[in-house]
Symmetry: C2
Subunit: 347 residues, 2 copies
């Protein structure tokens, strides 16, 4: 499996990105090559800091440009043809890479994916699918859209449901993914105008739809896929991270207040490590952009080398499954409904 990695994307690039790639190249057997795409000199300088590097599996690909985290996505992608994100995407298109991973400007990654790779036939809008940890260690909930589309139409949510269910089945190995619609009450009639329409449509398509779910249900481990518009999804995910961070802050503050408590915390070291790993978004491996014909993974802007390492694992796993064909077929199967949808627009 060959991965194109955006070495310039994210708050800690290229340092943490290169570090994550070095770890992956040294440890992962099924990743035959990681292309480090970015400023050649900067990437090589980072590589030189690592005493042990498996250079058989790492290749530096020069990208003369990079897109900043605060640049307007579509414009930046149009203007900077030779940016690291677009070069990664071109490599996926030419099948030189099986997947691409970026911790950069997520809007720019989504825009570049649509410009370069296009969309899977029938998909109106690609969506970012983020895996959230739940009470059950091996059953994350996939929330989509996590931020690619701020204003959604009801029909798009049915496509998100099909794409999410396909990913859950093929990559996360859930045999019959349970799908929910994020709303503000579990009763059938609850929601806003858009979700009420989506509720009606969801009942007609070929997914295991369980109706409306609430914020409460996201972390219970009873849902495999939850769909919502990208504004809500983004707000929910950032809120969840924020609460986890606040709790971590309080634990740190309270558990180390005096020597007795510090001794107690020492006895609970293992428990605290488990807790931290459960609450750690970095091991969830980034979020696939579903709906484009190619494997594109977006990770958090604040990604450390651990996040990059886990995203490479997840991207390789996704690329090993033929998602594009399956999504194409399943979207085509809902074509009667898609025919009612508004014409596809460029993102």
């Amino acid at each position: 499996m060959k991965i194109a990695l955006d070495a310039m994307g994210g708050d800690h690039a290229p340092h943490e990105i290169v570090h994550g790639a070095v770890d992956a190249a040294n440890r992962l057997k099924d990743v035959s090559c990681i292309f480090l795409v970015g400023d050649e000199a900067a990437v090589n300088a980072e590589l030189a800091k690592h005493p042990k590097v498996n250079m058989d599996r790492l290749k530096v690909v020069h990208a003369p440009e990079a897109i900043g985290m605060d640049e307007a996505p579509a414009q930046a992608v149009r203007k900077k043809k030779l940016c690291s994100i677009s070069i990664c995407m071109e490599m996926v298109k030419r099948k030189e890479a099986d997947a691409m991973v970026s911790a950069g400007n997520s809007g720019a990654v989504a825009a570049s994916a649509v410009f370069t790779l296009g969309r899977i036939p029938g998909v109106t809008r690609p969506a970012i699918a983020t895996a959230l940890p739940t009470r059950l260690p091996h059953r994350p909930t996939l929330l989509l859209d996590a931020g690619a589309n701020t204003d959604c139409e009801a029909i798009w949510l049915t496509q998100f449901a099909v794409m999410g269910a396909t990913y859950s089945q093929a990559v996360l190995k859930q045999p019959v993914p349970v799908v929910g619609l994020l709303s503000i009450g579990s009763e059938d009639g609850k929601g806003n105008e858009m979700t009420k329409k989506a509720f009606q449509l969801m009942q007609k398509i070929d997914v295991n739809f369980r109706g409306n779910v609430e914020g409460h249900d996201l972390f219970m481990g009873e849902m495999d896929v939850v769909v919502c518009d990208g504004f809500v999804g983004n707000a929910v995910i950032k809120t969840a991270e924020s609460v986890a961070k606040a709790v971590g802050y309080w634990i740190k503050k309270e558990f180390f207040l005096d020597p007795v408590r510090m001794f107690g915390a020492l006895l609970l070291k293992g428990a605290l490590q488990t807790l931290r790993s459960r609450m750690d978004p970095e091991i969830y491996g980034g979020a696939p952009l579903l709906g484009v014909p190619g494997t594109v993974f977006i990770t958090h802007g604040s990604s450390s080398h651990r996040a990059i390492y886990h995203a490479i694992i997840a991207a390789a796993a996704a690329a090993a499954n033929n998602l594009t064909d399956t999504i194409t077929k399943r979207i085509a199967a809902m074509e009667v409904m898609v025919a009612d949808a508004p014409p596809a627009q460029q993102a």
Copy 2:
């Protein structure tokens, strides 16, 4: 201060509601009377269970009807004129009570408030304002709307901002409340169509507006008021509660796995109590419905006696401040903008 309490509202009514009222009557000096509004026989049966009851401060008011948690709000309120919620509201209207508190169907409380009390002049839609705990012990963030309005127009959010800032100043004693607009990026241009419009309007009104904020910012203690539409607000609050609950579940599971850990947890007993109280939504005292001429507090459907007790404290504090007059004046001051708003509609 006299409080009308809906004894029939919530998942644990009338048991927990009466318990909370008894505690408040026994302990709170500035609450001269709590009216327990509900089925007289059921309420008296609950009162009989308490050995010590300050009956000078408790009065039972019979309500022959009650609204269920899953009834359609507006219809139920229209049909059941003698339900406990509507009788509480009538008492507020007739100034027999200074405030009302209900753990019942929040939609029905909001509908009944608008039907019975009307709206503060200039307010298009009342909003539920929920106080969220933050990193800083004495600086909660007020999030509104928390669920009264699922589909909002941009202008409504400016009214939410003014009402939230007024409450924050008068009741939570923040001298110059900092106001944010919930979005999916802190940059000015980020958001959906509605929030982008709201962003423009927010800059023109008389609040200390700090621009877009994200889920990340909700628990940092840097914002006093954050506005959003009721769908997003509700999803965000339920998500936050859900994460806190999941963390609590993991802590319980991991900290009591073996005797060594249990001893560690024993040494951390005080810290765990502090942590629990920080994450406990019950002590935040319910949420005021802002925009109606009267003090109306909505608490969680799952409210225990502690939640009711704290909601009575919060409602009394809110009633002691002349919010209606201040909100009327501040909304009138933005009348140029309100004139551009669509005509007021019945909730």
